[in-house]
Symmetry: C2
Amino acid sequence: MSFKLTILGCDSAIPTVDKQQTAQLLNVNERFFLIDCGENTQVQLRKYQLSFQRISHILISHLHGDHYYGLIGLITSMHLLGRKKELHIYAHEILKEIINVQLSASNTNLNYPLFFHVLPANEEKILFKDDNIEISNFLLDHTIDCSGFLFKEISSKREIIQKKIDEHKIPFDKIHEIKKGANYINENNQIINNNELTTLISNLHSYAYCSDTRFSSRIIPIISNVDILYHEATFSKELDERANETGHSTTKDAANIAKEANVKKLLIGHYSKRYKDLNMLLDESKQFFHNTFLTKEGDVFDFDSF
Amino acid sequence: MSFKLTILGCDSAIPTVDKQQTAQLLNVNERFFLIDCGENTQVQLRKYQLSFQRISHILISHLHGDHYYGLIGLITSMHLLGRKKELHIYAHEILKEIINVQLSASNTNLNYPLFFHVLPANEEKILFKDDNIEISNFLLDHTIDCSGFLFKEISSKREIIQKKIDEHKIPFDKIHEIKKGANYINENNQIINNNELTTLISNLHSYAYCSDTRFSSRIIPIISNVDILYHEATFSKELDERANETGHSTTKDAANIAKEANVKKLLIGHYSKRYKDLNMLLDESKQFFHNTFLTKEGDVFDFDSF
């Protein structure tokens, strides 16, 4: 199953000509989830030739403008381009009012169904689940209510255990139905139960997204062992007081979360404008967690390429 | 006095990588007026190295997103960059609520005074006046409440009438005080009244901005004789029914308004995405009003260069 993350923007606070605010697109088996939506995200989607009509779900971590000011424009353009397919938005409650007052000001009745799902301010729960993916929120420690998101691939499909084929001398033409759940009756008319022959698919993907937050050890068990963790790293490690004051993390904070949570790969972003050379932030993070990567606009991280 | 217009964006409805939505910056003697503010306008200001902290007044013609979705981001960035100077916004009433609910969601108290001036939906009046400029609104004919804006340079200064200097043999050292309003006493002790020697400065600039509107003959006397008229021309002339349905104008409509109002120069913009070759729109408009110019992002129109 394809599982790919595209970085549409990874900078903090104030956009400039070459610095886009936070937005990411997660492709789960050709189902598209937009995570945060800074100003101009709709143009970023166009720039990277990602059809925004295919986005089914939008998750907004918190209501600082650099994480959602592009949403109303995207919603409006979807409408103007004739969207009929439903759209699901997960965000803190007041965003519903922000959307509605703007649609009302322009006398717009969307020609597609928009479902608004209130992101709880003080609760962690499963937000969405289908046959492929389970998405839950977890609470971050920022200056206003802020959620991280955990994406876990799920599958009810089972894969065959190779050595059992040899052990029971299972013929090739039986394998398809065993994969689908059938038991196997061998040449002695013994029934071999499917559970003995198959196992749940084990290489399932997972992604944790931690937008604006202070270092928060309580999230470690929630995100433990994910394939990829995105964790903001607004500041370099010597600015830990500034990070704490402003509700943000340093490179060291992000790396320590990654290490303690035993994730496979750490992506950092949301860089303060003061850093012209981001490699300094990368090198710092690598001191504490080696498998760190900078995010930059246009990057695609394929979860199958480990 | 400098009087210059910079086009920050001139496209309609949906932004793309190379098409920015409506926004213009009018520089009146180094005082900056922003007219409309489509998404990403703050980045356009940066791109053209126009300090947005120097903007004192923002006028929003109407509340379709392509004319104001960039405003909240601009307001927020002004705050984050430490603005202290007051900002005046002129717009229809509901925009105040749109701004306030978003500031409230992010728990932001602006560190500069923001004055919101309600643009009347059914009245035409002077919105602002100082020693240099008078700005008034006028009603356009769109699908929602929509105002045009008229900018008229004003001056209380008088200029000397050259032939009067010769006639009364006025010495050079008297000219400065006559310009400031003094009468002149000639060699026969006759008092020559200042009104006879001077006249109000006559080459004052004027600009009329007509954003989204159907052809509307009632605006002609309001904008008559302006130096520059910006008038939207969303469609080519054969799409006049479509223009009427959607509350917009054709090239022919814009040109006829310019001709009837006897303006010096017409700028057109707000082009429908269907037109790849804008010169076709320009040629069409020129058939009815020769002195037409296309607007494009980054263009600067200097009112002194007639």
